[in-house]
Amino acid sequence: MNSPSILPTVKVIGFGNAGCAMVGRVFQQGLLSGAEFLVLNTDQAALASCPVPSQLCIGLPVTRGLGTGGDVALGRSAAQRDAAVIRAAADARLIFVVVGLGGGSGTGGAPVFARLARESGALVLAIATTPFEFEGGLRRANAETGLQELRAAADAVIVLPNHHLARLLDERTPVTEAFRVVGERAAEAVTGLWRMLAQPGILPVDFAGLERLVRGRHAESAFASVEISGEARVHDAVVKLASHPCLDEGRALARADALILNLAGGPELSLAEIDRASREIGRLCRDNVEILVGTSVDEALAGRLRITVIPAWRADTEVPALPLPGSASSERRDCREPVSARTPQRSELPDADHLQTLETDLTQSTTLSLPIRASSSRRGHKSNHQPELNLFPASRGRFDNTPATIHNNENLDEPTFRRRNLVLN
């Protein structure tokens, strides 16, 4: 359905029970035409019930096809034993590794896969969920280990913490239903990324751009998408993003070293809107952030604007959540290679007539609003050296579930004394 020239070979890999379930869903939705699918697990029964035809049961001698029962070391060694098979399977330019962190197989195996795939030249983007609180300490500890390994192995990890979802779910939601929703969100992240790369646009986010942005960064990312209609849609969308739970109420933007920004709209999507949106979102980020802007036109979106953002930041540094002018953000420890901000200049944009003629064939137009947030070290926490997995983000208290009050690009819901850097001691 899409011009194949835009995308090189793409593989979507699911690891462990959760990964298989999530990739199975993406496969069944059938939206990623041209992509190849593969699921890996130590659990034969789970593979049998997965709709994806390409399957690899790994570590058979050590797990006897029964899973690892939450043993990460076992999952890791199972994958390592079958390194040769895995290397052979990792023959693509771009690989999405989808995994539910917390168990043994996926948590131990996905980093192994990511490393092998990267070694053979693929750009590896991992999409990982972290456990619900109710799953307990062991799974949480597993997930923390797995995330660190995955971060080191993959080019970028998009973290989707389940506990964000818990806030949006009814207390009486059955567990199976909760996991179904988790899977749906993960599928949306995969599809969203795919769409950004594959959909014809005025400014397509191309693979080379993506690669340049994430290759070797071992970055951690969040993913959020909002869909808005109405007169003030650009403004409303930006306000929504600035307070998006998946973006840690906008802090993920403020913290980002790099940002992928995709705007999709109906044929009415105007250059002025694109320009305005990228400038306004750029203002929520720090000055030297590198922004990769893509736009696409989708008739199914007529009247609506969908903005997808993937802010990425290096996970090995601690940066104050909201960089203020003259604040500590300038004293970052790493010396990153200088990057150039790349927001579209007017002259780079094709003229408006061109917009009308672009064809689109994507029919799906779900509202993506992922309660996702990348793990981050929280402001005010002691350790400057150890990145920590923040599974319990600060609540917005009284302002949970309300749009942020934004004035001059400042979120007024944040305490004033903090924004003014008042020292209380």
């Binding site: 109405g230 007169e231 003030a232 208290g397 009284r398 302002f399 579930n401 309300t402 749009p403 009050t405 004035h407 007024l412 819901d413 305490p415 004033t416 004394f417 903090r418 003014r420 008042l422 209380l424």
Partner: protein
């Protein structure tokens, strides 16, 4: 035979409280508060309903309390609205005078106002108030153009408008109780009606209603409202800042703020510590009074500064000889008056609720400015109806007497 007084009810669905005020208005305009009912609000944030689940019960409770005190049955209300979505737009309408002699009629005035009303509004917004600033005839400013002559009539108007769906949300919540909504009014305008004297409106005054979720501002000069708007920041922000800064639960932050809070940084007690109540599993703790004041000061100063900046472009603040008048629950914060004086460089006073004949002092609380003002807003229109009904009745009586 003539029913020459009528009941009007103002209803505010506030962020902290739901409040109904029952009043009556006589044909001569006399306005008396008869009853007031309240309930603690739930599911309202920054002046907007975010979760309507608990509202019917709470609304019913507030209305019932007011009904019992006033001994009347409430069938309809004048409903207050606020929220960050409410905006002001200044419009100019033009209308050519078509009559041969170029005399301007009432119809021409209606036409030009109608044109000015909907210009430039965002697609999903709905006008709430249309406030005439002045008219012009062929470029000459005039107050009342009717029966004057010209080619072209102009009208400068202030339109307050808000998101249609959000306005509907509040109306729906009330209607679900089988209570009619006569009309909606912006909370800021209502408070201004309740609090300002005719003289203050004439001299030029900035009214600030500092509530829990929002701060409304209204600038009145020469008796006309020139600017009005909302900042979605209020007492909840003060409390939430204390939660973060002092690491205490919200309930405690709220209590401390109301009981011991202050926006003052030159307070002799700044070196003191404040003992927190222990119990409920909380260890005894004390907090530094200076931190406490600084957090509150920072938030309240910023809130006032933002409004000052918003207005400074449009209004010469130093010309407001009536100064600044504060109302709303937050206006009770110690030290706020001085803070506002330094931000606006104008004399500042606390508003008193006017025109509460018939009611005891308990209504004269800043929290009640909006609901009293809403009833007052309704009373203006009801009084006009009463007056015309009275004229009609007189005519009917005359025809009855002489017509046969």
């Amino acid at each position: 035979m003539f029913d020459l007084s009528s009941v009007v009810v103002g209803l505010e669905i506030g962020t902290s409280k739901i409040c109904a005020v029952v009043a009556d208005v006589a044909v001569d305009g006399t306005f008396r508060v008869l009853g007031l009912g309240q309930a603690e609000s739930k599911g309202v944030r920054k002046g907007e309903i975010v979760n309507p689940a608990d509202l019917p019960e709470l609304l019913r409770h507030a209305v019932k309390e007011a009904e019992e005190m006033a001994d009347v049955e409430v069938r309809s209300v004048w409903l207050g609205v606020t929220g960050g979505h409410i905006q002001e737009t200044h419009n100019k309408g033009f209308h050519p005078i078509a009559s041969d002699d170029r005399e301007i009629t009432e119809d021409d005035v209606d036409d030009v106002l109608r044109i000015a009303k909907t210009l430039n509004l965002p697609a999903h917004n709905h006008p709430i108030h249309l406030i005439r600033q002045h008219f012009g005839i062929d470029g000459q400013v005039t107050e009342n153009p009717v029966r004057m002559y010209g080619n072209r009539l102009e009208a400068d108007v202030l339109v307050l408008h808000g998101n249609f769906n959000r306005l509907q949300g509040a109306i729906r919540a009330v209607k679900s109780l089988n209570i009619e909504v006569e009309d909606v009014a912006f909370n800021g305008l209502a408070s201004q009606l309740a609090v300002l004297t005719a003289e203050q409106k004439e001299l030029g005054t900035l009214l600030l209603d500092m509530g829990a979720g929002t701060t409304e501002y209204v600038v009145t000069e020469d008796g006309i409202v020139h600017h009005a708007g909302v900042l979605a920041v209020g007492g909840d922000h003060v409390s939430q800042d204390l939660v973060t800064g002092l690491r205490i639960p919200l309930g405690l932050a709220e209590q401390l703020k109301v009981k011991h809070g202050s926006a003052s940084l030159d307070d002799p007690r700044l070196g003191d510590t404040l003992q927190l109540p222990s119990g409920n599993g909380l260890a005894p703790r004390s907090i530094n009074r200076e931190h406490f004041h600084r957090i509150m000061h920072a938030r309240l100063e910023e809130t006032l500064q933002i409004i000052e900046q918003k207005l400074a472009d449009a209004v010469v603040l130093s010309r407001l000889h009536g100064g600044v008048v504060l109302t709303g629950g937050c206006s009770q914060t110690a030290g706020l008056l001085q803070l506002a004086e330094s931000v606006f460089q104008l004399p500042v006073q606390l508003g008193q609720i006017r025109c509460v004949a018939g009611m005891n002092e308990s209504v004269n609380q800043p929290e009640f400015a909006t609901p009293v003002g809403l009833a007052k807003f309704g009373s203006f229109r009801v009084q006009r109806q009463l007056a015309s009904r009275a004229r009609f009745n007189v005519r009917r009586t005359l025809t009855q007497l002489f017509g046969r």
